[in-house]
């Protein structure tokens, strides 16, 4: 399979990349790790006339602390995320999620920025970012702006990004020390997208849920933030009856496609099962 012809650009700064993309308009696409875009190009589902490779831009790499936030450069790979000591200590759900994305070869190349900016409902990081309350740094023609992950996803492959925009970094407020977390993903085999997956971050105090957040992957056209389910859980001891009620509320907001991963109602139920497991594991990991 051979992709359509294109001109290749390799800018060395975000400013240069934004300038190029703005000038190229619909003919240009940003290339991060390329492990979603290149397969699409091989199938000729995408045939950009120009590719703007972000790999030569040093400022898009690296992870740093900024006050109570952690800022991760868009070109940080899944492999880097899984291996980062800072992230392992502060936001361990990122490691757990990274290691469930595709396979080792893809994780060496696939980037966090590409994963969250692509808008594919099958990508795992978007729901985790909604769960964590992350925001995205976006550089465009008019300068830099920040967009909350919870406001970013509009439909399958439709996001708040506009022509000429480059998502440069992901900003994550560090969850409270002693928080519990889990990313539970059901997939048919290594390398597959989720049949359904659930991300949970929570804090406990005196055996009760003090705070909680839930994200769901691949059970609607966009990743989902399960706000109603969270309201039911906060203040509870995560007893079976309350969890059941919350899971029903989470299932109610899903609208999965029926595909080779199963009929829609099955995938909705699997989202519920993943959430039940993620809550139990997050609770077991939480202190307090």
């Amino acid at each position: 399979m051979i992709p359509g012809a294109f001109a290749y650009h390799r800018p060395t700064s975000v400013k240069e990349a934004v300038g190029l993309l703005a000038q190229l308009g619909d003919d240009g696409r940003a290339l991060a790790g390329g492990h979603s875009l290149i397969p699409m190009m091989k199938l000729r589902l995408a045939s950009p006339a120009h590719l703007v490779d972000l790999a030569g831009i040093a400022e898009l790499k690296g992870t740093r602390s900024d006050g109570n936030d952690i800022v991760i450069g868009a070109m940080t790979t899944q492999h880097d995320l899984a291996g980062s000591e800072l992230l392992g200590a502060k936001v361990p759900i990122l490691r757990e999620t990274s290691l469930q994305i595709s396979d080792p070869q893809v994780r060496y190349v696939g980037t966090l920025g590409g994963n969250v900016a692509n808008g594919d409902p099958g990508n795992d990081m978007p729901a985790v970012m909604m769960c964590l309350g992350a925001s995205y740094h976006v550089m465009g023609k008019g300068g830099e702006r920040r967009i909350a992950a919870r406001d970013f996803y509009q439909g399958a492959y439709f996001t708040a990004l506009e022509g000429g925009d480059v998502l440069t970094a992901v900003r994550i407020p560090v969850p409270a020390a002693g928080h519990g977390y889990a990313y539970e993903k059901l997939k048919r085999k290594i390398g597959d997208y989720a049949t359904a997956a659930a991300a949970v971050v929570l804090t406990m105090s005196g055996g009760k849920v003090l705070s909680c957040s839930i994200g769901l992957t691949n059970v609607a056209e966009t990743p989902l933030w399960a706000e109603e389910a969270v309201k039911i859980l906060v203040g509870s001891a995560l007893d079976a009856a309350t969890v059941k009620k919350a899971v029903a509320a989470a299932e109610a907001i899903t609208a999965p496609a029926a595909d080779a991963r199963g009929p829609a109602h099955y995938r909705t139920k699997m989202a519920g099962v993943m959430l039940t497991r993620a809550l139990a594991r997050a609770k077991a990991r939480a202190r307090g």
């Binding site: 012809a5 490779d53 070869q105």
Partner: protein
């Protein structure tokens, strides 16, 4: 479309070539450099037969453009043997443990296992299986591939390989 000049190190040798931007690294290696160890299996980033080592990472060369590898240091199965021509411990392991049947997946398997052992000198069986999960084999059922990698890890440590009781 205008061709781009690329320069990279492949198995220790510097190559300079002109490529179309859309040329995939696997086609560049096989058709332009005649390095046919990396195989084209699925062409959809699933099977891992095209795996090469690129700047210390295992990558699927069917999902990378040659222009992206400009300046890179690449190793393929052709570059695995020791300088004196003897087999690398992994190659020996695959031979001794019968880690291949048809052999189609073997170049990718060995190159991937090479990077795995660079990162984890004595992986458990589970870590080996997870580490090669991006490489498909349709003959062996993986059993002897795992043993071959265990053999190589032991050999690189200078200890004889003890096969676990089944």
């Amino acid at each position: 479309m205008a061709k781009s000049q690329v320069s990279m190190k492949v198995n220790g040798k510097t190559v300079e070539e002109l490529v179309e931007p859309r040329t995939l690294l696997i086609h560049f290696l096989r058709d332009q450099l005649n390095i046919t160890g990396p195989h084209i299996g699925c062409e959809t980033s699933h099977c891992g037969a095209c795996t090469v080592d690129l700047d210390g990472k295992s990558v699927k060369s069917c999902t990378v453009f040659a222009v992206q590898a400009n300046g890179a240091d690449i190793r393929t199965i052709e570059g695995m043997a020791n300088a004196d021509g003897t087999l690398h411990a992994l190659q020996e392991g695959f031979r001794e443990m019968h880690g291949l049947q048809c052999g189609f997946c073997t170049p990718g398997m060995i190159v991937r296992a090479y990077r795995l052992l660079q990162e984890n000198k004595s992986p458990s069986e589970e870590e080996i299986r997870y580490g090669i999960s991006g490489n498909l084999c349709r003959c062996t059922g993986y059993q002897n591939i795992v043993k071959a990698i265990q053999f190589a890890a032991a050999k690189l440590h200078g200890v004889p390989f003890q096969e676990a009781a089944e």
